[in-house]
Amino acid sequence: MRSNLLLISKIGWRSIWRNKRRTLISLFSIVIGTGIPIFFVCIAWGFYAGLIDDVARLMSGHITYEHVEYRNSPSNDLWVDDIQKIDQTLNNNSEILTTKQIVNLQGVAHTAKGSVGISLMGVEPEKEITISFLPENIIEGKYLSKGDERWVVVGQKLAKNLNIDIGKKFVFTTNNVDGELTEELFRVKGVFKTGSKEIDGHFVQSDIGIARKVAGLSNDDVSQLGIIVKNPDNHENFIKDLQKSVAKNSGVFLSWQKIMPDVATTIRMDRTAISSFMIMLVVIVLFTMFSTILMSALERKREFASLLALGAQQIELKIQIFLETIFFGLIACPLGALLGISLAKWVEGYDMMDMFGGKAEDMTVGGFGMDTIITPLFSLPLILQISIFFFFAVQLLSILPIYLISRISITDELRSA
């Protein structure tokens, strides 16, 4: 059987090169069919990975620890306590890169020009510099430092709307944890620009100390504890473990998908669109190749008949046709993967706005601005998944030729010679 298989493989391999031009066209269509989706997926998944990481680091981490009711109504009077101990425990976990303590306050900023509803996030500035991209996006003034009492950084659009500049002040009105109205005066230390209308227009960061003071929280209380993990993709089981071992009665660990459902939904929809595009491409490629493979088998009916006459078994002919499509897949799918990866590598580092035009402000997902610099994600499992998917899709093409060859009549074919 081994020598038979070698013989069948040899005949199959040489048969596909019998009509070189036809074979090259078929291979080209599979290469393109595999390469283009890999290219798009590398780029898109890279964007998503970057976006998720940026947003998670800016907001409340890949995993967030917060009050069990905070998600339904993120009000100032829902906080979690005993946070220093929890923070220390989490930082000793090897899966966790770092954590960020956050006090969120929803309120209104007033200046002589007017009032704007804002979200003030109290953070630890020295940590925030290492975690978030916001400190790098300061376009005027400086970012916060530890112990900055009444200094804040504000978005460019908010600064414009409130007509405030570096060193200028505004009044922030909010409720403390007891539900009492409270006011605080803040001065602008820096102005940032992220490209997101929401963040640039309604987001303010201050030192966590002053935020706690305004809210009436102790040093052991936070609105949220953001957790930055090493592997943001697979954290469902990790969250369950944390919930069991670390969470207090009122606290709950949630994934970024639950914290930012808009972002998660948009990414899911985008991924579905790309997958649909990929399936359409598969259908087009298969359709292109189908006639080639079918014709290549049917024009050899007499050859197959004479092989059967010489004593070859039907199964051996079926294996030969199947091997021919395997050869197509084995040659073209890796080349397609290489093409997709090379294209993605080639555009790496380019700014999408330079390539396709448009405004960076328009590139938002779930209200968050996207980094327009192309940073592909070369995920080996994903690339293998697409290549293998295409490989098996190509194998489907051998079904009809195999069926038709299994029905040939030796005498009819030899008579027609």
């Binding site: 038979n4 013989l7 005949i11 092989l307 010489l310 004593g311 070859a312 078994q313 005498t411």
Partner: protein, 235 residues
């Protein structure tokens, strides 16, 4: 050369082709015996059933009724797979259009059936090379069929048919596509294989040159054997 060992015994073979509207009676009660060492030819006008009979003897087709006993085995009781194994191991075919596999070299074409039989490489090489030497095909081993003349291709096809030392070689109009000189040399070669290796040949042909070489001539007419005659010249 007839040793009286019966290889094929046909009894009352009837073959009808039914296309749904018309039934064509191709063979109408053929009784025939072929013995080891025979060098026989079937002749007759077009449509007399030569090729149909050859296909039935070669296990390529089944008779509508009647029995085919090949080397003691009744084809009616065998499955298609078993018939295929008989073709592989005991019957050689030479076709009018050679039917060599265009992607295999002359050597590989001749080696093909030996590989199907799982003969080890060294034995395959020895058998094919010896045969190529005997058939004056030396030096053509690595040529593809398209690089060979019609006569050379037919020699390779004959080599492929006899390399396994089959009980019977069936040759269908093998001189139809070659000139008379080449036809003569092919027949001389087959006659030599018949005499030296005791390989049984059964030809189907219109060509009178083939008749000149045959020791038994079977004349077919309207699906029946009209006459069987022995050629005293070649016995």
């Amino acid at each position: 050369m007839n040793t009286n060992n019966e290889i094929v015994s046909l009894t009352n073979i009837i073959k009808n082709y039914d296309n749904g509207k018309v039934i064509t009676k191709a063979l109408q009660g053929i009784d025939l015996k072929i013995y080891q060492g025979d060098f026989s030819v079937m002749m007759g006008p077009s449509g007399c059933g030569k090729s149909t009979l050859l296909n039935i003897i070669g296990a390529l087709d089944r008779a509508t009724s009647g029995s085919v006993i090949f080397n003691g085995k009744d084809f009616n009781s065998l499955t298609n797979k078993e018939l295929s194994i008989i073709r592989r191991n005991q019957i050689g075919f030479v076709f009018q259009n050679y039917n060599l596999l265009p992607v295999l070299t002359a050597y590989e074409n001749a080696e093909y059936v030996l590989m199907l039989q799982n003969i080890p490489l060294s034995q395959r090489k020895e058998k094919v090379m010896n045969l190529f030497k005997e058939m004056e095909l030396e030096g053509l081993e690595n040529r593809l069929p398209r690089e060979l003349s019609g006569g050379q291709q037919q020699r390779v096809a004959i080599a492929r048919a006899v390399v396994t030392n089959p009980l019977l070689v069936l040759a269908d109009e093998i001189t139809a596509n070659v000139d008379s000189k080449t036809a003569q040399s092919l027949l001389m070669l087959m006659e030599k294989l018949n005499k030296n290796n005791n390989i049984t040949f059964l030809f189907s042909t219109h060509d009178p040159i083939v008749k000149k070489f045959a020791r038994k001539v079977i004349l077919l007419k309207d699906g029946r054997i009209d006459k069987e005659e022995l050629s005293s010249e070649n016995i």
